[in-house]
């Protein structure tokens, strides 16, 4: 299945956990070092959770699974996130 979406679809699920907007954040891929807006990452949302991949190398950078009362978040594919904050 390669009908991926993009990082825009992550925004609601992550705003449930954090108070920042993930789509405007810059994330760096551990695997290839590319840094880009999370809004432009590839998102595969037809799995049991959301799987986010780095566009150039398609390595997994983030995974999120939600269940009643719980969430699992794996960000081991990201070396950093640079977040936009109010001044």
């Amino acid at each position: 299945m390669n009908a991926h979406l993009d990082g825009n679809v992550l925004a609601g699920a992550l705003r449930e956990l954090f108070t920042v907007d993930i789509t405007t954040a810059t994330g760096q891929c551990v695997s290839c070092g590319t840094a880009g807006a999370m809004g432009e990452a590839r998102v595969y949302a037809d799995a049991p959770g959301m799987v986010v991949r780095c566009p150039p190398v398609t390595r997994v950078v983030l995974r999120l699974v939600r269940a009643p009362g719980r969430a699992w978040l794996d960000m081991s594919g990201l070396s950093y996130l640079e977040l936009q904050l109010p001044t």
């Binding site: 979406l5 990082g7 825009n8 925004a11 609601g12 705003r15 432009e40 949302a45 959301m50 936009q84």
Partner: protein
């Protein structure tokens, strides 16, 4: 609209359907009354959640069609033949019904009405909805940034907001609207039906300095359009994209 307003964690809330408006035979706009709506940016979306009596729930994202500045939020929903959520929203939901949602969501695919640079909007099918919010916001804020909408539809009767776009193309100075028909054209249309191409996207001109591009539609449409634009010399970082699909994306 404060761009960097302090956000809280997002929680579900309930709005009340104030009215519905048919847009095409398979799409309609839901007007949702949301007291204390904080406002939104043009291009943002909401998540909608439906819950069955047995507790099964399904959620989808829908782009906001209306401009900010009102407590009535408009969502334009295209009914998908095998959809789990859209048939209910596009056929069953009636004025007075409650609707569970959360938002506004997403700060990446947004147009800032304080910006003055030229903008190219490219829509595939119901991908026009967040772009319509940008066009409406531009008009409401008195912004004169040059806007060009290229709107790809299968056939004339599947085009959303056709009447309003025709009026705005006449009345909103600096707004240009170009249709691309992929299956069937209106009678007397000068071109045969066909896919979007580089000449249509660039209007035969060289890459425009300072041009911002927003592309929204099904994944294949967005990828093809972004590739055409990059091949035509448009800087990739100036192209913002939003894809939708049957499972989780904007519809």
């Amino acid at each position: 609209m404060a761009r960097a307003a302090v956000l809280g964690r997002l929680t579900w809330q309930v709005g009340t359907v104030a009215g519905v408006r048919d847009e095409t035979p398979t799409a309609r706009t839901i007007m949702l009354d949301v007291p204390d709506w904080p406002g939104h940016q043009a291009g943002q979306h909401v998540d909608v959640r439906l819950t069955a009596e047995d507790g099964y729930s399904a959620q989808r994202s829908y782009s906001i069609a209306s401009a900010p500045g009102s407590s009535v939020l408009e969502l334009t929903v295209q009914r998908l033949p095998d959809g789990e959520v859209s048939p209910y929203l596009a056929e069953v939901l009636a004025p007075g019904d409650p609707l569970e949602f959360r938002g506004p969501i997403g700060g990446w695919f947004v147009w800032n009405p304080e910006s003055t640079g030229p903008v190219l909007l490219v829509a595939g099918g119901s991908g026009v909805v967040p772009l319509m919010a940008m066009i409406r916001t531009r008009a409401m804020s008195g912004n004169r940034a040059p806007f060009r909408l290229v709107y790809s539809v299968r056939a004339p009767d599947t085009a959303l907001f056709a009447g309003e776009l025709a009026n705005r193309a006449r009345a909103d100075a600096g707004l240009d609207v170009t249709y691309v028909y992929t299956r069937s054209t209106p009678p007397g249309w000068p071109e045969p039906a066909g896919r979007i191409n580089a000449d249509i996207l660039t209007a035969g001109q060289r890459a425009q300095p300072g041009l911002s591009v927003f592309v929204c539609g099904p994944t294949g449409f967005v990828e093809a359009t972004a590739d055409l634009l990059v091949d035509a010399g448009q800087e990739p970082r100036t192209i913002k994209t939003e894809r939708f699909g049957p499972t989780g994306g904007q519809q």
